[in-house]
């Protein structure tokens, strides 16, 4: 694939050079050196080097804000994804956050004879899982995030535990697979198709051999990858679903009994769940079904929602931080006590933004953060 093919595939040639993308782009608003419009223009002018050797190629959050508003329906995030494949082939990569640890872990997970110890946390509590279940809960990279984000502190396994608890109370004893691997989301979006393919093939095989009919996700990135990207590379004969969708579905069909939780909350739409997959209502329905919960919306919500500022743990920089600060201030302005999200990565990035260890303090952006499933697990608890 070359630049010309990418332009064809993503319909970039329709671009009117109107600049709407740049004016909406959360990065462009802070980083004067980054502009989706200029990137597209350069592509159309055939300036391949300007794209391939441009570090800013890795700044795009692929949040889909631009694509939804583009008058010509240019799929800019997909253009970026493909252009990054070219850049990767030329030996280029973005600036890895957390020293590239997460990229390395994914890369190592793409090697075959691993015997991961990824389920040790399961032994701690009496959650019910079943090896013969026809439903699988996809745990993703949570067991790796724990040590990486120890100091934030971000406990991703809390979300996994809450998800299990929620599934159990819905009468589901899911399969939790000891040999699942990273879904490959970050590798794919960073242009490392080789690693992505290996991971996708491995996961598809594992799922096929386990015989499950449905896979549930609490991470919207894994979900999007399975739902929209896997079909292009592997055969997956099962239904995939985000846990918020499952909960909303149950609310419709048989109803759920929640205990009262008195709390004023606001909700962050994760890009993957919202703009990528159009799921805005399910999490809100669940929130509103919990007695005592008052949901207030931030100024930018649903389609207009602002991304948490970093994707794929790459090119996390002062601009990402400014986006997060802006978003957290927006959340605080609603008067909510808690900012709910349904993406472990959004939560990680927001928590990271609150790290304030220097003597001189920045703006006050402290707010309680919680995943939707943790809230649901608490209110289903009694």
């Amino acid at each position: 694939m070359n630049l010309e093919d990418i332009i064809q595939e993503t319909k970039t040639y329709y671009c009117l050079e109107c600049g709407k993308c740049s004016s909406l782009c959360p990065i462009s608003r802070y980083d004067p050196q980054y502009s989706p419009r200029v990137m597209v223009e350069n592509a159309l002018l055939g300036l391949e080097d300007e794209i391939v050797y441009n570090k800013k190629l890795f700044s795009c959050l692929t949040c889909y804000t631009c694509q939804l508003k583009c008058p010509s329906d240019v799929d800019y995030p997909l253009f970026i994804q493909k252009a990054r494949v070219l850049a990767t082939a030329a030996g280029q990569h973005g600036d890895y956050a957390h020293s590239g640890t997460l990229q390395s872990i994914a890369m190592l997970m793409a090697r075959s004879p691993l015997k991961q110890n990824r389920l040790e946390w399961l032994k701690k509590d009496g959650y019910r899982t079943s090896e013969k279940s026809d439903v699988m809960l996809f745990i993703g990279c949570s067991p790796y995030f724990e040590p990486v984000f120890e100091d934030i502190p971000m406990r991703t396994l809390n979300i996994a535990e809450a998800s299990l608890k929620v599934l159990n109370s819905l009468g589901i004893e899911p399969l939790v697979h000891p040999d699942e691997r990273c879904c490959g989301h970050d590798a794919l979006w960073m242009g490392d198709v080789e690693t992505f393919k290996k991971l996708a093939e491995h996961n598809a095989t594992v799922i096929k051999e386990s015989g499950v009919k449905k896979v549930i996700f609490f991470c919207p990135e894994c979900y999007r990858t399975f739902k929209l990207d896997y079909p292009n590379y592997v055969k997956l004969d099962c239904e995939v679903m985000h846990i918020s969708e499952l909960l909303a579905q149950r609310l419709e069909t048989e109803g759920l009994r929640f205990n009262e939780v008195k709390r004023k909350v606001t909700y962050q739409d994760p890009c993957r769940l919202g703009r990528h997959l159009g799921i805005y209502d399910a999490p809100r329905k669940v929130l509103q079904a919990i007695p005592g919960i008052e949901l207030v919306e931030m100024e930018h919500n649903r389609e207009e929602s602002i991304c948490c500022g970093t994707s794929c743990f790459t090119n996390c920089d002062s601009y990402s931080k400014q986006i997060r600060v802006e978003r957290l201030l927006e959340a605080k302005a609603t008067g909510a006590e808690t900012l709910i999200t349904s993406c472990p990565k959004c939560q990680t990035h927001f928590r990271c933004a609150m790290v304030n260890k220097g003597e001189e303090k920045g703006p006050d952006i402290e707010i309680e953060l919680m995943d939707l499933v943790n809230l649901v697990a608490t209110s289903l608890g009694g």
């Binding site: 020293s99 920089d317 990402s320 931080k321 990271c352 304030n356 260890k357 920045g362």
Partner: protein
Amino acid sequence: MEEVKIGVYVCHCGLNIAGTVDVEEVAKYAATLPSVVVSRDYRYMCSDPGQDLIKNDIKEYVLNRVVVASCSPRMHEPTFRNACQEGGLNPYLYEHANIREHCSWVHDDKKINTEKTKDLVRAAVKRVYHHEPLEVKEAPVNPNVLVVGGGIAGIQAALDIANGEKRVYLVEREPSIGGHMIQLDRTFPTLDCSECILTPKMADVGHHPFIELLAYSEVEEVSGSIGQFKVKVRKKARHIDESKCVGCGICEEKCPWKVPSAFEMGLAMRKAIYIPFAQAIPNLVTVDPDLCVYIQSNGKKCGACIKFCEAKAITPETLLNQTDQIIELEVGSIIVATGYDQFDPSVIPQYGYGKYDNVLTGLQFERMTCAAGPTGGKVLLKDGREPESVAIIHCVGSRDQNYHEYCSRVCCMYGLKYAHLIKEFTKADVYEFYIDMRCFGEGYEEFYKRLSEEGANFIRGKVAKVTDQAVTEEEKGKLIVVAEDTLLGRLIRVPADMVILCAALEARADADKVASLFTLNRRADGFFLERHVKLDPVATPTDGVFIAGCCEGPRDIPDTVAQASAAAAKALSLISKGKITLESAIASVDETRCIGCGRCEEICTFHAPKVISKNGVMVSEVNETLCKGCGACAVVCSTGAMLIRHYKPEQILSQVAALTEVL
């Protein structure tokens, strides 16, 4: 970017390398690596012709990177960096492969060694590809010096610097300088009186035009770095007008309130207003606000000192309203000479210190034999009698795993001195209980011999206990020292009227605070750690901060003075040069990648990075004079904004990847 052209030089080191490595093959192999334009092997790269090879090649092949594979970089990296520089190349565009210490000398199979050498050379080539030229920066040095601690170490260091006509600020927390040495009576082995040799130096300090004495003061805060420290000193309120006090001492005479004197080791009392000892410098009285009844009653009671002070130095205003002052100083270097504490022997209950009146510590005995001391120089028991028998116990708290493992170095000698003084002043028998006699200094062994001739009894054995439980008639009313005479292999009980404990010298109780104040390192025994135990004994990990005297470990007066002069010389050489060369391989921040989280600020031991607000955005900034390039900040940096020059990820990663490359 300029095309990278690398020159590789493989050293034979005679047969040291060539004996077990096929150097020619390695050089041939290196020539095949990407970007290598010239590759040679040579008998001795470190020789002048070897270095000339590099210099000439830089010109001829327009090299912009150089790799030498030879001995340890700890030996010759500076040599070849220098050669590069002379050849017109930035010295940081050089990389060194250690193929001697890490290969030819430690493995014997020539084939394997040659392969390993290739790996090491390949890794160096890949690393040097990513090297960047670094600027060598300089910063000015403030010629003022801060000396902390006014004992003999601090006094000597201050005088040495001030005599070179450089300004010294001498900070002492007690009301007077003098330290432990001014408490001593006579000094071994020459027996000259401690006061007589120290007070002239103290007086010099007092009126030296280049010394600003800040007594009764403590350092509160230190910031900045070598060449430009900023120091905050708290000058404690003496509650008198220092400009008027003439030190006549009438107030002290008239003051009715007393506590045991710390200077006299509790053997005498001092007043609420006092001069700690007659030759105090500065010669000023100090009011103890906790003891002064006038202050405690808020001016309602007493006030005797106010009435009798002819100089009008003491007024209700000074007593009630005077407060501490904070003085800010700017200095280029700091000498820490904070001394030691005497080990408290009451933690060894079997020696009976604190239980029996006539069990004394060494410092108490010093005060007793001092003519100006509480007994007027007489050796007396608590009841006023002269002792008939005195036991001196060595190594109390020293050379003992339960207390301090180290030898306190001075006890053997002052134990001998006590034996001499007791013999001189009384008719008592003297028993020295020792483990080993350590008499290593000038005239020390001779002094030991002299005491043996003077009739002191030496018993080799660590004392088990001191008791008043007599078993024979002869022991009644005495303290009995129980030990084994290990030379005779026999248990002995020695009745004594007085027991002197040669208590260990230990690190100051607040050494941890002082260490963090000045960013010093401490050994397991609590004393401050020198940069190198043999070759850099007064420097510390913090550039520009030096240590001298007993804060670094127990030592006698001659060693302390020598070390103080050494520290002064270090400070003076800094001042004389007037500027410092800053480490180039240090941290730098990519501001666009920084999220201002402050993790770097939190982890840095040297306080180099600091998060500041720049145009409303929080970013970290590195103080280049403070950074030592240890790299801890880069590890905790979540975005990769913090980089260590010359140790950037791509530099290290390319080396790592090349080492494991399967060919």
